[in-house]
Symmetry: C2
DNA sequence: CGCAGTCATGACAGCGCAGTCATACACAGT
DNA sequence: ACTGTGTATGACTGCGCTGTCATGACTGCG
């Protein structure tokens, strides 16, 4: 650094500058800024006034260096604008901010070079205090990640793709709700329910598939062949075209709303009415689900609550390194019944 | 810090540790890590090997403190999972990562305590090198923000709500495309086009309103009353119910796809066919737009390209503080014509 | 051969804060 | 009065890195 005497007028004020102005020591300024005890009301007032006057902001880098904590949490997302992941990310942001931490974000596209492990690595480089993995997917290299991770990890979405030393998992009991959605259709009288699955690299897609299987098994129904899409409406449409070949299909549970909508489009174009001929249930309750034709029966997940609950666990793990993980509370998921599901046509 | 001799075995390795192992000075390690010139190939190799062996990561806080730059960019978003903003955020993440910077995110809900200014403030507290404001909205206190901002700001979305010292604006020429969408309907033969506007606190909503006005004016058409929604399908539905009162409505340009879908639902329920009786055009090209009934004519924005272009400007401004802003290139926006728009019914 | 110029490396200081410890004072209990 | 305990403050140091400058080795050239 250039050893400029007196520092340029443009230089940001430091805590010593505030200290000088307030007539106290630098350490006392630090105390005030961190709400530490043992500062008299008078001194606190003077310091705050001085800080205000100078427009002082504490230097985050210096604080992090001195304290060894960055007060930031990193989140790994899949970089899609899909409603589910995007909502979850927003929920995470809100929850993180509520805890007083800062949020750093790294995306990892499906099939991208380093994948989740790479994203986690880059967060560790940045020195985060904790990591949130939102909607994990199965990656060949997922498992070797645990080795270098030395901060608590929260996996939002089930089940965890790897076991790291400080991993907590939270929220998203997709399988239960997938089961409920399937049972809803069975209870309407459908002999069986087809499934339009999400991409099986996503754990949440597997989870929904499992729930569907459980429901069929519990009711003693045979398991029809599974169609797999990529979450997109286009893939739902394509799957719908194929399902048309089987005239016996009367009910389909799609792993998300976009695919359900594509599916309905394919059915409609072919003259199969929804729900009179075929019932369709989606998952996510995207904002337009209630307004498409027909309005879509679907499953609503409380993204905000899941994020909040999860972050509570994560912050607890960060701030109490030795303590046991907090117990998880299951978020209230909800089946929203609309017009797209109805009893099967009479035979 | 506890002055432990020898540092616990669990402590993260520092550059001196790497230096010792490689038999060089700590400064040389720093040179290698930063790809600085004047390091022999042999030394570089040894240093990298030593770093690998120890699992060394450079300490970001220390680097930031010493260099005065955090190599991170902050983004302020509106905290919605709406397709447009969410896509833009994903684009920003990608673009930021491509530049080698880290990304910090702060949301600001509409009507939240501190608003955009507060979000910017918290980013400045964190010490970002640059700020991206994604989809600005009008806030009473927006203007006073400029005072304390000492880093370049990129506003993604037009027009800038305030003039800060280092602001660059990029992308999103909504008004032009809104105009194109409206003209598309006029050219199909509609006498006039109604507009279902977005919330007018959003600049992008105003922008689209302006474009619609321009188109009508250019064709010498009178301006029918404007309905205003809140981007949601529900608000589009509500607006649709009101529009039904006027049997003369044959074409509506909605400021986003969600509202368009809600609108279509209201029309359909009332027995007005789309597009035979009423044409509807949306905005955004959400993933399901092509698969709703009828498939939606809409405007597609290249979010990734906008984010990339904008970030190029921002990074340029960060790294060349004195230089003039780079010129903006207009991103290729596209009108996607589908079944929801058609010529008006014969009278 | 000697000097300038380039390359390669290290010594040293200091970025701005928080942690540790010492100190000073106030008041309570004996 | 004397000790003990709690409160309020400051001096000093070091977090791990980068910037500056010094130094030495090597090159080319008159």
């Amino acid at each position: 650094m250039t050893p400029v005497a007196g520092r340029g007028a443009g230089a940001a004020p430091r805590s010593v500058d505030v200290a000088r102005l307030a007539g106290v020591s630098q350490k006392t300024v630090s105390r005030v800024m961190n709400d530490e005890p043992y500062v008299s009301a008078d001194v606190r007032r003077r310091v705050l006034a001085a800080a205000e006057e100078l427009g002082y902001r504490s230097n985050n880098a210096a604080r992090a260096l001195a304290s060894g904590r960055t007060r930031s949490i990193g989140v790994v997302t899949l970089g899609t604008a899909l409603y589910g992941p995007a909502s979850l990310l927003m929920g995470v942001e809100r929850a993180v901010r509520d805890t007083g931490y800062a949020l750093r974000v790294v995306n990892t596209m499906e099939g991208e070079r380093a994948g989740i492990a790479g994203a986690v690595d880059s967060l560790l480089d940045q020195g985060v205090d904790g990591i949130v993995i939102s909607e994990p997917i199965d990656e060949a290299d997922g498992a070797d990640l645990s080795a270098r991770v030395d901060v608590p990890v929260l996996v939002l979405g089930a089940p965890p793709p790897f076991a790291a030393p400080h991993v907590v998992t939270a929220g998203i009991v997709s399988s239960q709700m997938a089961r409920a959605a399937t049972e809803h259709l069975l209870e309407l009288g459908h002999t069986t329910v087809h499934h339009l699955a999400g991409p099986q690299r996503w754990y949440s897609a597997r989870d929904r598939l499992d729930g569907w299987r459980e429901a069929l098994a519990a009711h003693g129904r045979a398991e029809p062949p599974v169609a797999e899409g990529d979450w997109s409406a286009a893939s739902g449409y394509a799957a719908g075209r194929e399902l048309l070949a089987d005239p016996g299909v009367t009910a389909v549970f799609a792993a998300n709303d976009d695919m359900a909508i594509g599916l309905i489009r394919a059915l409609t174009e072919a003259g199969r009415r929804v729900p009179e001929d075929v019932s369709v249930v989606g998952f996510d309750d995207i904002p337009v689900a209630a307004y498409v034709t027909p309005p879509l029966t679907t499953v609503r997940q409380p993204f905000d609550a899941m994020a909040q609950d999860g972050l509570k666990l994560l912050v607890h793990a960060i701030e109490n390194p030795q303590a046991d993980p907090l117990p998880m509370t299951d978020p209230p998921v909800e089946l929203v019944v609309r017009a797209s599901s109805a009893p099967p046509p009479p035979r």
